[in-house]
């Protein structure tokens, strides 16, 4: 088990964590776009409230991924940066505008004013763009046709980016994020807002988005047999059990959601995303950027990767407990150290009663 493979597996887990946490942020932005009609304001407040505390912590996983990639596979990272110049720049613009828009809307004093509505529009549109471009880029890499025949990365060579396979996977990424966000928001609506009607509306949205994701996923799978032979063969030889499990979990998510077991649905949707990305990784093994860059020929020196892994472990020792503390203070229902003493606990529900 050489060091580079260990590092790649860890990076893949960071990708999954980003998809599950960061993806939910983008999905919430997408639902912000579709927040119309009677429930619109309550839906927007829910999104604002749910995103507030964890926004920045989720977004740092993406930076972790980039830095990890250029640490462990510098040559592959350089090629990806040139070949995917266009989609990455557009995805970056989406992230930037989305992050700024969220903050301005959240802190705008007059939430009905022009300023808040304008940035609200920027927030939801950019939440749509970024997952699409990241999904399309992933598909272009997996298709094996990212680099021109001479193998030298060229930013203008975008044939693999506008292929039907890439467009389908891009769209699937958006609907997957929307499904994850909708499942989280049903729980948020039920547990923190105690708003049954809002939870129902998000349950419905999660079911619809989940169905669309399944259809796009199947379409993508079909297209990959034609357009990305490497992925397809990788799937047939190694990854087919994982693909089947992904489909089973998909069905299980839909049924638990339909039956209103929201907490189990949340666990299942996370597992669904993990297995889906796992299937892609397994199918593409051992390529980083198919056919030219494999793990062995683009990995950094082993002693450097070991140093990175050690620093990773030390970092995790600090980050994981702090992240757990963050979630326990805001999201998890049981008491955590440092919370307001019980004397204030009585005031809180009372205030909540007065406020709503």
């Amino acid at each position: 088990m050489d060091v580079a493979l260990v590092a790649l597996i860890i990076l893949w887990w960071a990708l999954i964590t980003y998809a599950v946490l960061g993806g939910a942020d983008f999905g919430a932005g997408v639902w912000d776009l579709f927040a119309v009609g009677r429930l619109a304001d309550r839906q927007r407040n829910l999104i604002n409230h749910a995103l507030g505390p964890v926004w920045e912590a989720n977004h740092v996983w993406l930076i972790f991924l980039i830095v990890g990639l250029f640490n462990v596979f510098p040559a592959a990272f350089a090629t990806l940066s040139i070949a995917l110049f266009l989609p990455f720049t557009l995805a970056l613009l989406g992230i930037v505008l989305r992050g700024a828009a969220f903050i301005y809307r959240y802190y705008a004093i007059n939430s009905k004013g022009r300023f808040a509505r304008l940035w609200g529009r920027v927030f939801s549109v950019s939440s749509l763009l970024t997952p699409f471009f990241l999904g399309a880029s992933a598909a272009a890499v997996a298709s094996g046709k990212l680099l021109p025949p001479n193998g030298i990365a060229d930013a203008t060579y975008i044939v693999s980016l506008i292929s039907p396979f890439a467009l389908t996977i891009g769209a699937m990424a958006v609907t997957l994020c929307a499904t994850i966000a909708a499942v989280y928001l049903t729980i948020e609506a039920r547990d923190t807002e105690h708003d049954k009607e809002l939870a129902e509306s998000y349950r419905l949205k999660a079911l619809i988005a989940g169905a669309v994701t399944a259809i796009l996923g199947a379409l993508g799978l079909g297209l990959s047999s034609v357009e990305s032979p490497i992925l397809w063969h990788g799937m047939l030889i190694r990854a087919w059990p994982v693909v089947i499990i992904t489909m089973i979990i998909g069905l299980a998510t839909a049924t638990t959601l339909y039956a209103r077991y929201y907490s189990t649905a949340r666990v299942l949707i996370i597992a669904e995303t993990a297995f889906m990305l796992g299937a892609w990784g397994l199918a593409q093994y051992p390529y980083i950027v198919p056919i030219n860059y494999t793990i062995s020929n683009s990995a950094n020196a082993p002693n450097v990767i070991t140093a990175v892994l050690i620093s990773l472990a030390c970092g995790m020792i600090i980050v994981i407990p702090s992240l757990y503390y963050l979630f326990s203070v805001f999201k998890l229902p049981y008491p955590a150290p440092g919370l307001q003493r019980s004397a204030n606990e009585q005031i809180e529900p009372q205030q909540k009663g007065a406020a709503s």
Binding site: L62, F64, K112, T156, G338
Partner: protein
């Protein structure tokens, strides 16, 4: 605009924008920690009003810091892939460690900014410690990566390949101790003067309550401690550069020919092609004395490298003078303030001229930070990794860079405009009513009736 110029312009603008929020991102958490600590200990509600107000402004500034920082991480790859391939192999570690520092900072920031009602007063205050410590760490790691670019170490090139990479040696390259200390002090100088300037301006417009006086005092206290230390650190930096980065030193001081007993030239403008400095105040043997404490010491001039390898002497020399000048002005204002304060037996000096000086010192301190980085980055040209990789070889082969530069400049202008509008709104909000309750405070934020349009 050539591809290379557009890439350099975009990188420069991105970093010039990000550094403002980086400096505040390192400085403000320490101020918050101090002020909240005072609020808990002295039970004076004014300290808690300051904490609440600064926390609200800090939340906005951190978000923009995080967003602009993300742009930079993408841009290192998007604009300079060859640099990232070279640097990623050797100096990737501090970027990874910096990632952890940001992560811890972002987590405890979430707890601090949104945990007012959920956390007990003591726990809430303790959350501010990991923020300023990890802010410091992130600055240290990222500037050690930049120091490596100025004095590369920890690897060997054998027939075109990078081998024997030693990451620790790369982080602790010769420039790291100098640059990191100077940068961290710069963050405290800039934050201190920025806070002092805001309250000095409010004071001049007639707002004289204890809230405004305490805000100004805390800001100018940080400034009066950090600025003299910054001068000392700057002096060490300059003397260190004379030996380890002679070309940058020569460009900074406008020394063209290697000779003995070189004069110190203050101010003046360098003629770009000859490198000669005109209309400067000349102190004979001044530079040799300053750099080597020996008036006849030889100082290496720009003639030590071929003409096309000279950095842009005009910009580097003027940036250096601008940085030192702004720093000295700030020091003067801070020392005057505290001098008057002690001389008049601890009464708050209300001299209008001095207050206007403090207002000016705020933006000037940030100008010093920007100019300081211009010295470091432009002084390193035409190399991106000194002696190994030239800037023109590091740029991406992707076209459309001038379009990318214009789009990102627009984004930055948009972000800055919306930010100023929002911060003014936060400043205009009436102060929260704060009452000491038990161990902590009961804070009632005034909610603005939507109809009452505030500001614009």
């Amino acid at each position: 605009m050539s591809n290379l110029l557009a890439a350099r312009a975009q990188m420069g603008t991105s970093l010039a924008f990000h550094i403002i929020f980086s400096a505040l991102g390192v400085g403000i958490p320490l101020l918050l920690c101090i002020v909240e600590g005072l609020a808990l200990r002295t039970k004076n509600p004014v300290w808690m009003m300051l904490t609440r107000r600064w926390a609200r402004a800090a939340a906005i500034l951190f978000a923009i810091g995080a967003v602009s920082g993300t742009i930079l991480s993408f841009e290192l790859g998007l604009l300079w892939p060859t640099y990232t391939k070279f640097a990623g192999a050797v100096i990737g570690l501090p970027f990874m460690l910096e990632g952890f520092a940001f992560f811890t900072e972002a987590i405890f920031l979430g707890l601090y900014l949104y945990g007012w009602d959920r956390l007990s007063p003591r726990a809430h205050w303790l959350c501010s410690f990991p923020i300023w410590i990890s802010g410091l760490a992130s600055a240290w790691f990222i500037v050690s990566a930049n120091s490596w670019m100025n004095t590369p170490a920890g690897f060997v090139i054998k027939h075109g390949k990078i081998v024997d990479i030693n990451p620790l040696q790369a982080i602790f390259n010769p420039s790291t101790p100098y640059e990191t200390v100077h940068m961290i002090l710069a963050c405290y100088v800039a934050t201190g003067f920025a806070v002092a300037a805001v309250y000095a301006f409010a004071f001049l417009r007639g707002k004289r309550s204890e809230y405004y006086r305490k805000g100004l005092m805390v800001g100018i206290l940080m400034a009066v401690i950090a600025t003299p230390l910054q001068m000392v650190s700057g002096d060490f930096n300059a003397r260190y550069l004379a030996d380890y980065q002679p070309v940058k030193f020569a460009a900074m001081e406008g020394v063209v020919h290697t000779e003995q007993g070189v004069p110190l030239k203050i101010g003046g403008l360098a003629d770009p092609n000859t490198g000669q400095i005109h209309y400067a105040i000349e102190i004979p043997n001044g530079l040799s004395l300053l750099a080597y404490l020996n008036p006849d010491a030889t100082v290496k001039g720009l003639d030590q490298v071929p003409r096309e390898d000279w950095p842009n002497v005009l910009l580097v020399h003027s940036s250096f003078d601008g940085m030192v000048g702004s720093g000295l002005f700030g020091l003067l204002v801070a020392v005057l303030f505290w001098g008057l304060y002690w001389f008049k037996k601890r009464t708050f000096p209300e001299n209008r001229l001095l207050l206007w000086g403090i207002v000016l010192a705020g933006p000037l301190a940030f100008l010093a930070v920007e100019l300081g980085w211009m010295v470091t980055e432009l002084g390193r040209q035409p190399w991106v990794i000194y002696g190994y990789l030239r800037t023109k070889d590091a740029v991406t082969t992707a076209p459309w860079l001038n379009i990318s530069f214009s789009i990102f400049s627009l984004v930055y202008i948009l972000l800055a405009a919306a930010l100023i509008w929002l911060l003014r709104q936060v400043a205009r909000r009436p102060l929260p009513q704060v009452k000491a309750v038990g161990e902590g405070y009961q804070v009632i934020e005034p909610n603005i009736v939507d109809a009452e349009e505030v500001g614009v």
